[in-house]
């Protein structure tokens, strides 16, 4: 079950706020600092996902990915095996909205995915990675360590 149930009106402009915050903090305090803050967000805000992963229960992670990407209107493909989760997003909803706002999309924006996922996995026996297939197309991978 999801820790954060969100069913209200979607305010997609927050993707613009996330992007400008990542740029601002990377520019003023360095890329490592914003990575650290994003990992802490993954670790602390998504504590319930992390604690379940530590018990080898990825159910909330799967629910989180499916619900929030569905809610944002993304097309995706999910493949789950005993030791690996592959979540392919064909067009990132955050990038799509930035383009709609007329804002540039740069690779640094993707730190929100790679670092938040890394924070969710920290200390759980799971690792995360992101394979970039195109500017807006990626696969998020979660693997159980052997």
């Amino acid at each position: 079950m999801l820790r954060y149930q969100e069913n209200n009106e979607l305010h997609r402009d927050f993707h613009g706020n996330t992007d400008s915050a990542i740029r601002y903090f990377a520019g003023r305090y360095g890329e490592e600092k914003i990575k650290e803050i994003l990992r802490r967000t993954g670790h602390d805000v998504y504590k319930s996902i992390r604690e379940k992963l530590a018990k080898n229960d990825p159910s909330e992670l799967l629910e989180h990915l499916v619900w929030f990407y569905h809610r944002e209107g993304a097309e995706f493909d999910l493949k789950v095996t005993a030791n690996e989760i592959r979540f392919e997003v064909f067009e990132c909803p955050a990038h799509k909205h930035l383009r709609r706002l007329g804002l540039p999309v740069e690779p640094i924006n993707c730190l929100q995915t790679s670092e938040v996922n890394a924070g969710m996995c920290e200390g759980t026996g799971w690792t995360s990675a992101v394979e970039h297939i195109g500017d807006d197309h990626c696969v998020q991978i979660f693997r159980k360590e052997k």
């Binding site: 993707h15 803050i37 967000t41 929030f68 990132c92």
Partner: protein, 157 residues
């Protein structure tokens, strides 16, 4: 991707980091947010004044799911936030809330209003509660912008 639904919980983490730095750093970030928000608001506020501000926050209260009362008068706009969705999410969070989270709102709003020729008097009431009130006046009223937290520290009955 951080879901747009969860942005404010990330925002909270940013403010927690800034709280560890000298206060000028928080102020610099508020200015940056304010400059970003000017793109959506300044022309409207300059052109339509209090009515334009009413239009902006009327739209926001729907899109951001706010329980917000707006009262437009000839000489002022009164905003009463009954349940702020932003602080509500920050409080409904497995991460700890940033004490000064609420301050970002007047932190970006007041500079835009002042550029448009208005001032705002904010009462945050209590940084731990998702409600506040504010009144916007034309700068020609002679009033000054201010931020208070009128109920903070008062004993609970």
């Amino acid at each position: 991707m951080i879901p747009s639904d969860h942005f404010v919980r990330f925002y909270n983490e940013l403010f927690k980091f800034l709280e560890t730095l000298p206060p000028e750093e928080m102020q610099a970030y508020y200015r940056s947010i304010s400059e970003h928000q000017e793109m959506h608001t300044l022309a409207l506020f300059k052109e339509k004044g209090l009515k334009g501000m009413y239009e902006y926050w009327d739209h926001i209260r729907f899109e951001e799911n706010c329980e917000l009362e707006l009262e437009l008068h000839e000489d002022r706009l009164v905003k009463r936030m009954k349940k702020c969705p932003s602080l509500s999410k920050v409080l409904d969070n497995d991460a700890s809330p940033c004490y000064s989270y609420c301050n970002h709102c007047p932190g970006w709003v007041i500079p835009v209003l002042e550029k448009a020729g208005y001032v705002a008097q904010y009462d945050i009431i209590d940084h731990g509660k998702p409600c506040c009130r504010s009144v916007i006046y034309p700068a020609s009223s002679g009033k000054k912008s201010s931020i208070t937290a009128s109920e903070e520290g008062k004993a609970q009955k």
